[in-house]
């Protein structure tokens, strides 16, 4: 049995920062698809995480995952470009809680706040809240099997941890 991957405290802290997040999957027809995610929750044991995305905006990704696609989550901090990619062979839908909605709203606001410090207009907070509402959230839980450093540069793609 493979040794389970446990996210480091640093990775866990990073995943709770102001991040741009995207989830990718591959449809049954072989087409890759992507959707912006709007929140992530790391489990207490740091072995699994739950990523939140909009059902309507992420229809293709959700369909692909429902039919057995592997999942990838890419998270990047706009101010530093520090980027992680986490992959797993499957993800499962879990019920969306009030805590998830709160997390999503917090993550979107933090992301907007970070962009504002980089010179984007202050209205972005409102704009992003309307682009990424919490009313049709879907929660996907997965157990990362491999984590890559995806920070742009020649080292992008370096494996940081795997099962």
């Amino acid at each position: 049995m493979p040794t389970p991957l446990i996210l480091t405290p640093e990775q866990t802290a990073f995943l709770q920062g102001p991040l741009s997040m995207n989830v990718g999957a591959v449809g049954r027809d072989g087409w890759p698809c992507v959707c912006r995610a709007q929140g992530v929750v790391v489990a207490r044991d740091r072995r699994s995480l739950t990523v939140l995305l909009s059902a309507s905006r992420g229809r293709a990704v959700l369909e692909a995952l429902d039919t057995g696609s592997a999942i990838t989550l890419v998270v990047s901090r706009p101010a530093t470009h520090a980027t992680l990619q986490l992959k797993a062979t499957r993800a499962v839908r879990v019920g969306v809680s009030t805590a998830h909605r709160t997390t999503s709203a917090r993550c979107v606001a933090a992301f907007a706040g970070e962009l504002e410090t980089l010179g984007y207009a202050a209205e972005l907070k409102t704009t992003l809240a309307s682009v990424l509402p919490t009313d049709d959230l879907v929660a996907l839980r997965f157990v990362p099997e491999i984590v890559f450093d995806q920070t742009p540069g020649p080292d992008a793609g370096r494996v940081l941890a795997r099962t």
Partner: protein, 435 residues
């Protein structure tokens, strides 16, 4: 496709990073940030290939990708289904993306990290608006209207000097451009020289740019427009180096030290490059895609006008010479260096190349015969001048010479006396000697 790719051009300027999803042959997804998704034509985009990444490995094995781009201001997301076709590692598309990437890299603090290895060209198969509920970003000012206003201000021009000045002044009125210059291709085809400028403390008239050097040189070498919408720290894309080589006299280009937006468009007459129009701004994202389109049209219009005005015949009637006022005062020492045709006045560099050679010829002719009136036709035939067979650069060289003299040595002047005719006017006696 329900959505035209052209309508997405504001999303394709690198203002908001795009992401690209690919699949490996075993079906594992990969998502990565794309520095640049470049509009190629209504059916194609190109992605910058900077590193040998998983994305690249995937598309080479399984040539399908989805890219998600974002409209600045509205933050509407669009997803494009792409089919990878080829990678270009040289040529106009590559050079344009390389220049633009320099701007994106500096803006994102990645100047030392980003270098373009290739332009990966994809066919766009489908476009999905992810946020149909959201209103689009407000439309930018109409570039066609700006172009029309510019042409109205340009009006009819009778000669090249007038055209050079009005061409830039009209840009200020039409596009709100405050800093611009016009550089003409020289006889060798290997360099451009500044004929006129707008909005700089020093005119920079006569300043040269080698083909391929800086944004102006790249636009000229490739005969393409190049637009950078952000400040770039990559010196290659500064309009030109500011440090003059002390070993070779060089007039510095008058450009801004830290432009935040730059555009260079070729002046074309048919397939022939005549020069480059360069404009810049202290604001980020000053030039839109549509502005680029409009300025390309303007560049073609100016290119045709330059050729047309240069081809007009000289006035036939000789102009009667007025009695020459006798130059007075201490003589000016004029020194000529034959190897590069450079002319120094009292040890100060004035001009070199064809313009230097013209001045030296005129001054010698005047010293020998006392003549003051000249015409372009005789210069075109003069074996002492290094002019090519097609001599329509002569007129622009004379304008350049006239302007350099006015700026640096007003005691020597070339006064226009008719089309293709001019008079040498001297306020001081001259001492001519060759090095």
């Amino acid at each position: 496709m329900n959505i035209a790719l052209e309508s997405l051009r504001p999303c394709l300027d690198g203002a908001v990073p795009a992401v690209v999803a690919t699949a490996s042959p075993d079906g594992t997804p990969n998502v990565a940030y794309a520095s640049q998704v470049h509009y190629v034509d209504p059916e194609h985009v190109a992605l910058s290939f900077q590193f040998f990444s998983k994305t690249r490995e995937n598309v080479l094995a399984h040539p399908y990708a989805q890219v998600q781009v974002i409209e600045p201001k509205s933050f509407r997301h669009f997803r494009l289904k792409l089919h990878y076709l080829r990678t270009e590692t040289s040529g106009p598309l590559f050079e344009y993306m390389k220049a633009q990437l320099a701007g994106i890299a500096t803006r994102t603090g990645m100047a030392k990290v980003f270098a373009l290895r290739g332009a990966d060209v994809y066919r766009v198969l489908d476009i999905e608006n992810v946020d149909p509920r959201l209103l689009p970003a407000p439309a930018p000012p109409d570039a066609l209207l700006k172009l029309r206003g510019t042409l109205d201000h340009l009006g009819a021009c009778d000669d090249l000097a007038q055209l050079a000045d009005r061409a830039l002044a009209a840009l200020a009125r039409g596009f709100g451009i405050r800093h611009a210059l016009l550089a003409m291709l020289d006889e060798s085809g290997g360099a451009l020289y500044t004929l006129a400028s707008l909005g700089y403390p020093a005119s920079g008239v006569g300043a040269e740019v080698a083909l391929g050097e800086g944004l102006i040189g790249v636009a000229a070498r490739e005969a393409i427009p190049v637009r950078i919408n952000h400040h770039t720290g990559d010196y290659t894309y500064h309009a030109a180096l500011h440090v003059a080589d002390p070993a070779s006299p060089r007039i510095p280009l008058p450009v801004l030290a830290h432009p935040h937006s730059q555009i260079a468009v070729p002046l074309m007459h048919g397939a022939r490059l005549v020069g480059v129009l360069y404009a810049e701004s202290e604001q980020n994202a000053f030039f839109s895609h549509a502005d680029e389109d409009a300025l390309v049209v303007y560049g073609r219009h100016l290119g045709a006008l330059v050729v047309q005005l240069a081809a007009l015949p000289d006035d036939a009637e000789p102009v009667r010479a007025a009695p020459a006022p006798r130059p007075s005062g201490a003589p000016l020492a004029v020194r000529y260096f034959a190897h590069d045709h450079s002319v120094f006045i009292d040890n100060d560099y004035l001009i070199k190349g064809v313009a230097g050679s013209i001045l030296w010829t005129l001054l010698n002719e005047h010293a020998a015969s006392g003549r003051r009136d000249f015409c372009n036709r005789e210069l075109r035939r003069d074996p002492r001048l290094p002019l090519p067979d097609f001599g329509d650069n002569l007129e622009t060289r004379l304008i350049l010479l006239q302007r350099r003299l006015a700026e640096r040595c007003p005691q020597i002047a070339l006064a226009k006396t008719g089309r293709g005719r001019f008079r040498l006017e001297l306020a001081r006696p001259l001492l001519l000697n060759t090095a």
